[in-house]
């Protein structure tokens, strides 16, 4: 009985390990796995844009915008981790991963710049918001490409 249980356990571990490395992952699965962190990053950039614009319009305080941007830095970090730890099965997947990493990193740069501006370090609102917008567009484009694969 004990042997049977041990074997079952081993089988379960093997199955889990197989899934984790993406042995049988189809392109659709891969695209889906990357879409979710990209959506997270879009959400962070959207929040950052709103927070920056509010500060520019004098509707928000520096402290609130700073905190909102800081929180989004953390969200982007999570998204970047998810993309970076993704294991692609083939060349297409690897290319997607590289694209995703670049766009998420660009988003991090844009949000960090916005935070610098909110705390009075260089740059101006126009540049900051333009960089955030560009980052949002890049994220949306990549998500759209992946969505075509998943058919969602």
């Amino acid at each position: 009985m004990r042997v049977v249980r041990a074997l079952l356990g081993l089988a379960a571990v093997a199955a889990a390990a197989g899934c984790a490395v993406g042995l049988d992952a189809t392109p659709v699965d891969e695209a889906r796995a990357l879409t979710s962190p990209l959506e997270q990053a879009s959400s962070a950039v959207g929040t950052a844009t709103l927070a920056a614009e509010l500060l520019g319009d004098g509707r928000s305080t520096a402290a609130v915008t700073d905190t909102a941007l800081l929180d989004q830095v953390h969200v982007l970090q999570e998204a970047a981790d998810a993309v970076a730890t993704f294991v692609p099965a083939d060349r297409t997947g690897a290319a997607w991963q590289a694209d995703a990493l670049t766009t998420v990193r660009d988003a991090q740069v844009a949000v960090a710049a916005a935070r610098g501006w909110a705390n009075g370090a260089g740059s101006d609102e126009g540049t900051v918001v333009a960089a955030l917008d560009a980052s949002a567009t890049a994220l949306d484009d990549l998500t759209a490409t992946l969505d075509e694969v998943t058919g969602e």
């Binding site: 509010l54 929180d71 969200v75």
Partner: protein, 409 residues
């Protein structure tokens, strides 16, 4: 003015119960992902908490016995002990989240790192629990917490498409991007957040602290009928703000700082200042409510002397319990754990502990030995039985759904 202050207990209980850090975040998350399609859960929750809080308030006013004494007396030491363990841990979890919430709200006001605010928040909390009169505590936090009405004002200022909001709320459907399991997981989280047991522990013990008697039954009913619906309306307003600003932009709420952005968008710096004051007051109120509840539940289970109307030395173990809980909460937070994550768990775990709290209240509210002529009427009992079915269903479904959906992710 006396009449206004007369409902302070209900307002503090409801603001602490409905607009604590867990509810604010859960409501905003739900608004940003599901629009108002889960608003019906808040309505169900408000009716439920009104029903059982008014029962526990009536029991406290008529018999002078607070809820956990009754739980112990009716369920015996085993079942009541299980309930105590669960309630106490949930309380501690919630208290931890609230102290973290105070720190996060103060970060919004100052952009000073929350870790530095935690000791300040914990000390202030203890000083109020230790020294302030119950009536002053409830009036100040209740009245200041009312500034959260600014969320409702913001909904109007944002000038939303009312037809669409009404459509989301009145004919709820699961949005295409979300699964059914996730929808129901959040339904249970909202229900648990609305009916959190610490609200009845606090409300009934508060009634004893204020020495309510049969003469105050009308006041007790007023407290319930004003406080909880107000809390419910404001929590729907938070969801609506998120639904108006974040849902179309595809933004998912994950932090407290996002919740105040729609208010800033609607009302500018003034509204922003008001909402931050409100959030500090509400999380502080909830922290008071949960730290007192931890003392109330343990003291009432063990039969210890309790109450803020006594000198601390005359309710020594009660005060020691609260001191230990506040210290533990502060210590846990200093490990840099995310308070928002803690609230998500505490809200769902409270859904699990609901039946063990609400069943004894219903039984005792029907016991003429305690209640005399003030036992439940037939309509109340019928409604309460319907709610017990809902409560048990939510409690059973909570854990499987939490596992199946990866806690709603």
């Amino acid at each position: 003015m006396k009449r206004v202050l007369g409902v302070a207990l209900g307002i503090l209980t409801a603001i602490g119960g409905f607009l604590d850090i867990g509810d604010m975040v859960t409501n905003a998350v739900v608004g940003s992902r599901f629009g108002l399609s889960l608003a019906w859960v808040v309505v169900v929750g408000v009716i439920g908490i009104c029903l059982f809080a008014s029962m526990s308030g009536r029991v406290a006013a008529v018999s002078g016995r607070a809820t956990f004494e009754i739980i112990r007396e009716r369920l015996g030491p085993r079942a009541a002990g299980a309930n105590l363990t669960a309630s106490f841990l949930i309380n501690l979890l919630t208290l931890t989240a609230e102290v973290g919430g105070i720190a996060l709200a103060l970060q919004l006001a100052s952009s000073v790192e929350p870790r530095l605010w935690i000791p300040v928040a914990a000390l202030a909390l203890w000083l109020v629990v230790w020294r302030a009169k119950f009536s002053i505590m409830e009036n100040v936090t209740g009245l200041v917490g009312l500034t959260l009405v600014v969320f409702a004002v913001a909904v109007f200022l944002l000038g939303p498409d009312w037809n669409e909001l009404a459509d989301q709320a009145l004919s709820p459907t699961v949005p295409a991007a979300e699964g059914h399991a996730v929808y129901w997981y959040y339904a249970i989280a909202l229900f648990g957040a609305a009916m959190t047991p610490y609200e009845v522990f606090f409300f009934s013990s508060g009634a004893v602290e204020e020495r309510w008697t049969v003469k105050d039954l009308a006041q007790s009913r007023m407290n319930v009928l004003v406080g909880f619906p107000l809390g419910g309306i404001l929590s729907v307003a938070i969801a609506a703000c998120a639904a108006i600003v974040f849902l179309p932009a595809g933004i998912e709420v994950s932090s407290l700082s996002q919740i105040v952005l729609p208010v800033a968008l609607a009302g500018g710096k003034l509204a922003l200042a008001v909402v931050i004051v409100g959030i500090v007051a509400a999380t502080f109120g909830a922290a008071l409510e949960t730290s007192l509840s931890s003392g109330y539940t343990l003291a009432q289970f063990m039969g210890w002397s309790w109450g803020k109307f006594r000198r601390p030395a005359q309710a020594a173990r009660f005060h020691l319990t609260m001191i230990v809980c506040i210290l533990v909460a502060g210590a846990v937070l200093m490990t840099s754990v995310d308070p928002i994550k803690i609230t998500e768990f505490s809200v769902v775990f409270s859904a699990i502990a609901l039946p063990l709290t609400y069943l004894p209240i219903l039984i005792v509210a029907n016991d003429p030995e305690y209640m005399g002529e003030h036992v439940n009427g037939r309509a109340t009992n019928a409604l309460a039985l319907v709610y017990l079915v809902i409560i048990v269903t939510a409690s059973v479904a909570a854990i499987p759904l939490m596992i199946a959906t990866g806690a709603g992710s």
